[in-house]
């Protein structure tokens, strides 16, 4: 409503729902995401140094679509 207000609980509910439904609809258990992360890391390590701790994987709702976001810092 007003820009200086904290995010409303309604907005939070909507965002949480969209995220949880993204997992539900993809029929992905949270454990599977961890497994995917480990597999991805293994492949990435063959090309450049990266660390488990720094890598983040998440699903996100972008408009109509659900996208997989992988955040991987590359050490130079």
């Amino acid at each position: 409503m007003f820009w200086w207000r904290r995010k409303s609980s309604k907005q939070k509910a909507k965002e949480r729902l969209q995220l949880v439904l993204a997992y539900d609809r993809a029929k992905l258990a949270p454990g599977q995401v961890e497994a995917l992360k480990a597999d991805l890391l293994e492949v990435l390590k063959r090309y450049f140094p990266t660390e488990d701790k720094e890598m983040e994987i998440a699903f996100e709702q972008r408009g109509e679509r659900v996208v997989l976001i992988a955040d991987i810092p590359v050490r130079s």
């Binding site: 409503m1 409303s8 309604k10 907005q11 509910a13 729902l17 439904l21 539900d24």
Partner: protein
């Protein structure tokens, strides 16, 4: 809606399936349709008490399925509303006695041989066999959802399962909405729920204390004399099912003198 066999479902329990079945069923009958409401919640039947017909149950759905009585003996005619009938669930028998194939034949028999215009099926909560049996004969569904995270999540699951079962004409009822909380930013609004679930809307029922009163006395709110917001919307849902273009209620919580003044001047 084209669908003549409609399942009322939600996934989550306690969101208002049975109340919706009783009221939409009674309202459709008052619009002139011959309606059967069927309780499929074997072992946890409630449609009979919500409608105030519990004292007249002699035979039940399983008795019909297993040939212990004729369909007409099990159907309870509601004496207050012309053309409204209840087929109660069994409270004691094994729920596995309810076979989807036979249940489909029962609903077909009601529509084709007994002259019913519409059959409303009150589905049990959950996504297991009981729900699947309830949905088996349905061509369409009324998905009842409360504007609350767990209910919306379960509804999403149910919508997926309905589609997988070939139930295609599905409509959304947002039940127990509190307009003041929505306006304050503390409850999901109808537009939020609809955006998330992506189902065409057919009703917005506000939270209404009169519902509990009507359940206490066993009289669906649509047949009670007093004018209530929920009763009005249940009647409107029946009219929308019949294809009438009835506008959705304006649930702006601004009321009273200052509310009206604010509205006139376009304030919030």
């Amino acid at each position: 809606m084209e669908a003549r066999a409609i399942v009322v479902t939600s996934g989550k329990g306690g969101v208002g399936k049975t109340t919706t079945t009783a009221n939409v069923g009674a309202a459709l009958a008052r619009e002139g349709e011959k309606v059967a409401v069927i309780d499929v919640d074997v072992g946890l039947r409630n449609l009979d008490v919500v409608m105030g017909l519990e004292g007249r149950v002699v035979f039940d759905l399983i008795d019909v399925l297993e040939g212990r009585c004729k369909m007409r003996q099990a159907l309870i005619r509601d004496k207050r509303v012309e053309n409204l009938y209840l087929l109660p669930a069994s409270q004691t028998k094994d729920k596995d006695a309810l076979d989807p194939k036979i249940f489909r034949a029962v609903v077909k028999h009601l529509l084709e041989d007994e002259g019913f215009d519409r059959v409303l099926i009150d589905s049990p909560a959950g996504i297991e066999r009981g729900f699947q049996t309830a949905a088996a004969p349905a061509e369409g569904a009324l998905v009842v959802v409360n504007p609350e995270v767990s209910s919306v999540r379960d509804a999403d699951r149910i919508i997926g399962m309905l589609e997988a079962q070939g139930v295609s004409e599905n409509r959304l009822i947002v039940n127990r909405l509190r307009p003041k909380m929505v306006k304050r930013g503390d409850m999901l609004g109808v537009d939020d729920v609809q955006e998330i679930l992506g189902l065409p809307l057919i009703g917005i029922v506000p939270e209404d204390e009169a519902i509990l009163v009507s359940t206490n006395v066993g009289e669906p709110i649509v047949i009670r004399k007093e004018r209530t917001a929920a009763g009005k919307e249940f009647r409107n849902i029946a009219r929308r099912i019949r294809g009438e273009d009835v506008p959705f209620p304006d649930l702006d919580p601004a009321f009273g003198f200052w509310g009206t003044v604010r509205k006139i001047f376009g304030g919030r």
